[in-house]
Structure formats: C-alpha cells, structure tokens
Amino acid sequence: MLTQATETAGRLLGSRWLRPLNDLAAVDDLLAQLHPTWSLGRIKARVVEIREETPDVRSFVLRPNRRWPGFAAGQHVSVAIEIRGVRHHRTYSLSSAPADRLLRLTVKRHAGGRASNALHDQLGVGDVLELSPPAGAFVLPKALPEKVLMLSAGSGITPVMSMLRDLHHRAPDRDVVFVHVCRTPADAIFAVELRALAASMPALRLAIHSTAERGRLDGDGIASLVPDRAERQTWLCGPASFMEMVQARWQAEGLADRLACERFSGPVLRRSAAGVPVRVRAARSGHSFTTTGERPLLVEAEAAGLAPKHGCRIGICRTCRCRMTSGTVENLRTGELSSEPGQLIQLCISAARSDLELEL
C-alpha cells in the first residue's frame, strides 16, 4: 500500500498540471547556475586532474556529485560532450577502481574523431561533465575465479585496468595474468602503474607486448605466453581485429564459455551510392523495406505500406522528423551526407545511402 501511495504521489508530482513547477530540467538548470555540479537527478563530475598517459592518451580524473551510484569494475559510462553547441554522447570505460573516491576516464585521441579531440583539446581542470549511470555486463563476478587472464590491446586496457585495480583491493594475492598489446613501449598506457601493481601483487604476471619490436601477437603468441589459459577465466578488450583473433582461438580450443568480451564500437555500415538497394529497418513498427535511395525515405516508407507523420513534404515544417539510429543518409536539399548515429533527419528530404535503422 505504501508503494502504491508513493507511486500515485510520484505520478501526481510529475503531472502536466503542475508544469512548469515540476519541470525537473528547468530546476536542474537553475541549480547548475548556482553550482555547476548540483543536480536533482543527473550525475555531474568535475575534472580535478588531467594526466598524460602517453602522447595521445589522456586520463581525466573526476570528482562526481552525490548522484553517482558507484560502479562495478569493467563498466562504462556515457559522457555528454557539447561540441560547438551540439550535444554528443560517447561511451568510455572507467579505468579507476570502484573503491577509489575519484573516477578516471582514459581517452585516446583518434585522428578525425570529433569527441576524443574535443575532450583532449577543450576539457580542462574545473570543467564539469555530465555522465550517465554506469552500465555494462563486462564485470568481475562476486565470487572471484581462482585464476584470471586479462587480454587487452590499445585503449582496450581501460576496463581491464579497472578490474585489476579492483582485484588489488579485494584479492591482491589472486593469480592474474595481464597481457597488453601496444604499438611501442611508449604507447603502453598505465605502464608505470602496472609495474607498481606487479610489485605489490605477488601472483600477478605482466606481459606487455610491443608490436613494433616483436611483430603482431597472434593466437600462437598468446598460447606461448599463457600456456594455462584453459584454467583461466578470461576478459578481453581491444580493437575488432585483435578480438576476432582471440575469439577464434578460444573457440577452436573449446574455451568460448570462459571468455568475456567488451566491444567498443558497433559494426561499420558500408556506404553506397544512389541506385544500390539498401535495407531500411523501421525499429518501432518492426517493418523493413528495401530502397535504392533514389527517392526520399518518406516516399519509400509510404510505398512500403508505412504511414509516417508528414506535413509540407518539402523540408520546412519538420513534421516528418525521425531519429536515425544508424546508417548514412543524404540530405537531398543540400547534398550533405551524414552518418552520425542517433541523429534527427527529415524523411521527406533524406534518402538512404546505406543500410539504415530508423526509429519509425
């Protein structure tokens, strides 16, 4: 009965009849004017320190506000980054230990990457970021396995670093093998910290493999580094090609069920020119249709039997506005191509230039 009462109270307090007093976003904005990290429900974190881990990798040490619920090692957060007035969202794994008071996000600068470059070039000490609650199933279980293997390459080290630091707090004598692949020794993120951990964790074995010096690390290379891999629960994170290689090897050895993977990016959708048939999925209605991209998506959707909202049909009124979850479209008015996931497009003036998923 109490839960029913609180539910009803919650519904009443959120009712449209009480707007604008219960406009939480407005109250939040007023709070933020008073103090940048104050918020009713949003997690905000202030940058307290910036560390240069390698020439193109930076760690941002953050102090979160009271809305931060804590996290499990290996989880990630979505960071809202405003670049030139536009809000972008990017997901980063936390590289700090859950027991640490401060959070750490370790970001690698990607050539041409809008968010990573913005973070490196514009984010300074004292700035405030908005974070989503932590998420992800790539975590250590409560009952820790006896033997652990962590495999990472490049910036894939971030979640497993969090796990290693967590193990250092919870079970410093656990048998851990930590293999990290990097281009050159100077590119080994957290190298100093790893060696310090190795000094204080008696059963930790570190292997940092530099591809510039020793060539690519393939399945056989891993096999010789970790002969007892069949006895270890393995956590894997890195670029797609590295992960595919390890997954194939583990699969071949019948160890697929002992392998947990964290993928950083989704599959890249190939762009195509007008005239090439592509598949469009309308996620909400569950329908899919094919289009050659020669006519606007509104016309194609209608031809396929869907009835999207529409108005002027000439790109002015925005009634046909729809979110594109993934893919590439061409704006037929301006000729501009765009592939930003989650962006809003006007169906009446957009044509498909790759397989698409729409929130339709």
């Binding site: 009480l18 707007r19 407005a26 007035g85 536009v86 108005g311 009124c317 925005r318 506005r321 301006t334």
Partner: protein, 366 residues
C-alpha cells in the same frame, strides 16, 4: 506565378538563397546555443521574480513590477523561445529540452496544433487565399482580394477583442472554427480534434487562475489579477507583432492557381513578397522573437532567429538585385498601415473598371 521575374531569375534567386542558408547552417555553434540558453534563463528568472512579487508583495507598485516581469517572461517564452524552438531552429543542438516536436509553450494553444497550423500550413501555403488561414484568421478582411462580407464592418472592434484574447485565437486557429462551425462535417471535425486544445486550456487556466492564487491565499485576488494582466500584455504584444508580419501595405496575397507547381525559387519569392519587417533595436527584435524580421523568417524558418538580424542586409541586397520589394518600416509605420488597412477594408471595395461588387467565387471568403 505572377511575377516580374523570369524562370531563369527565380532559379538564380533560389541558388543564392540556398547558398546563404548553407553558409549560416555551417556556422551554427556555441554562440547560438549560448543565446537561446541565455534567453531561457532570463525568462525563467523574470517569471520567478514576477510570480514572487505578485504572491508576496503588498503595494500596487510591487503588483505592477510583478506584472511587468511576468509579462516579459511570457513574451520571451512565447516569441523568442517557444515559437523559434518549435520551428526546429535549435534541433541541431540535440538538447531534449529544445526539441521542436516535444516543446510545450506557456499559453492555451496546444503545441501539436500549433506545429500543424503554423509550421506546416502557414509556412507552406503562406498568403495563399483559401489555404493560409493566417490571412485574416477567419474573422477579418486584410487584403483587397479577399471578398467582403457584412461581419467585416465590425473588424476594427473584433481586432481589439482578438488582440486582448489573442492566445485563444492562436489556440483555436488549427480548428478553423469560423469555417467549420457552419457545416455539420466541420462541427464533427471540431469535436474530433478539439481534445488537445481543451486539455491544454484547462491546464493553463488551472495554473494561472487556480494554482498560483491558491498557494498564496493571503494575496489570491492580487495574484489572479496579476496573472490575467500579464497574459493580456503578452496577448496584445504578440498580436501586434504578428499582424505586422503579413498585413502592412505592400504585402502580396496569391491564389491557388497562381502557385501551382511552384519551384523553390518561386516559393522563396512568395515568402519575401508576402512578408514585412519592422525596424528596431536589438532588444525590440528579441522581444518580437525576431518576427520583426518576418521576411528572413519566412525564407529560413528553421534558422536560429537571432541570425536573421545578421543576414538582413544581405537579403535586402539580394532583393534590390532582383527588383523585389523589401517591405520594411518603423513600428508605427507598419502597424499604422495595418490599422488603417483594417478600417479601409471593413467596407466593400468599389471595384475599378468592372463596378462588380459580387464576391469572386475562386477566392476564398474570409
């Protein structure tokens, strides 16, 4: 379309205006985001101050101050914020609180109804008789080409009434009440589609005339009267500005036949020739939601409005180049011509040449 420009010229006009739009779109960034956020904060703090003065003040001076600040807040929210956000001018920011399709503004008009009647109908069929309901709002004769009917005799009075109750006129606009009430299927349509309006109006009336007075019971009558006056202020201001957009002398209206198969260049031309600007200071423009730049707004409805003031000299130059009239004047000149026009058109026009007073069938009755 009736115009002195050739097809070649309208194509060239189209290219120039498209290029101008692309240039501004590419330049949108942090300062545009800062502008709208600044106006939103200004409006919010004025609303808080205004309502507090009404609720907790004692003297008539604090009542006047409360009404002024609350009125200012409502004007900013209606014009520079609400109208512009709903046009999609800030959709590019990806901020859910500035989303054109979900923003709900602080007046009795339901945002969905507004998006339909304004963003879609008015901006697509601007000044086309029989299609653009903004031409006279169903009660007034604002163009010589509109046929006269006896109710127009009273339009100087109905203008004042509409002005005082403008938010209701805006709210009922999408239901096309004056036309639909006269036919059974029109009445059915009103019944079917009036739900969102009735619900929005109920919530707004509750907020301003029940809730806020009730939470300050020691000052309830003062709060109620204050809210009423603030709403009235906003109504009159928005009405005056909006009427200056398409009704001053020199604005063109069109028939459906004239605008069939329009190219985008011809659409641009119709937007320019059907609109009029008001000259003023930077803050006058902001208070008008930059509808003082009606010409630029009609060319580029989804461009952040404060940019209109920046591109106005270039639009004016383009007009000069093509011999298109750039209808701009001081507030008193433009509004004065609206008022004199209303008086003049309240009586039937003695037709030149034909002497025929019968309403022309192909033009829609106002």
């Amino acid at each position: 379309m009736k115009t002195h420009l050739t097809r070649e010229q309208t194509d060239a006009l189209e290219a120039e205006l498209d290029a101008l739009r692309a240039e501004v779109t590419a330049d949108l960034g942090a300062r545009d985001a800062a502008h709208i956020r600044g106006i939103i904060r200004l409006a919010r703090w004025n609303a808080i101050a205004g309502r507090s003065l009404l609720m907790f003040g004692i003297t008539p001076i604090s009542w006047l101050a409360g009404v002024s600040t609350l009125g200012l807040a409502k004007i900013l929210e209606n014009m520079e914020i609400g109208h512009n956000v709903m046009h999609g001018q800030y959709d590019w920011m990806n901020d859910p609180t500035l989303d054109s399709q979900t923003y709900e503004w602080d007046n009795v008009c339901d945002s969905g109804d507004w998006r339909h009647s304004h963003n879609y109908m008015h901006h697509t069929y601007t000044n086309i008789l029989g299609k653009d309901l903004d031409v006279g709002y169903g009660v007034m004769r604002v163009a010589d080409e509109q046929s006269w009917s006896p109710k127009h005799l009273f339009q100087p009075i109905s203008n004042v009434a509409l002005s005082a109750l403008f938010q209701w006129g805006v709210a009922l606009h999408d239901l096309d009440v004056s036309n639909n009430l006269s036919t059974p299927q029109g009445r059915r349509e009103i019944r079917a589609r009036s739900g969102p309006f009735l619900r929005k109006a109920a919530r707004q009336l509750f907020k301003d005339y029940v809730f806020f007075p009730a939470i300050a019971p020691w000052n309830a009558p003062r709060v109620l009267l204050g809210n009423l006056t603030a709403n009235l202020t906003r109504n009159v201001w928005t009405n005056v500005i909006i009427f200056c957009g398409h009704f001053p002398d020199g604005t063109q209206v069109y028939t459906e036949e004239e605008t069939v198969n329009e190219t985008r260049g011809e659409w641009y031309l119709r937007q320019m020739e059907g609109s009029a600007n008001i000259e003023g200071s930077r803050w006058f423009h902001i208070l008008s939601g930059h509808l003082s730049h009606q010409i630029e707004h009609h060319l580029f409805p989804d461009m952040p409005a404060h940019r209109y003031a920046e591109i106005a000299p270039r639009v004016r130059a383009i007009c000069e180049n093509y011999g298109i009239r750039y209808n701009s004047g001081s507030f008193w000149k433009q509004y004065g011509s609206v008022l004199t026009g209303l008086v003049r058109r309240s009586v039937p026009k003695r037709a030149q040449g034909g002497g025929d007073l019968a309403p022309r069938q192909e033009l829609a009755a106002a």
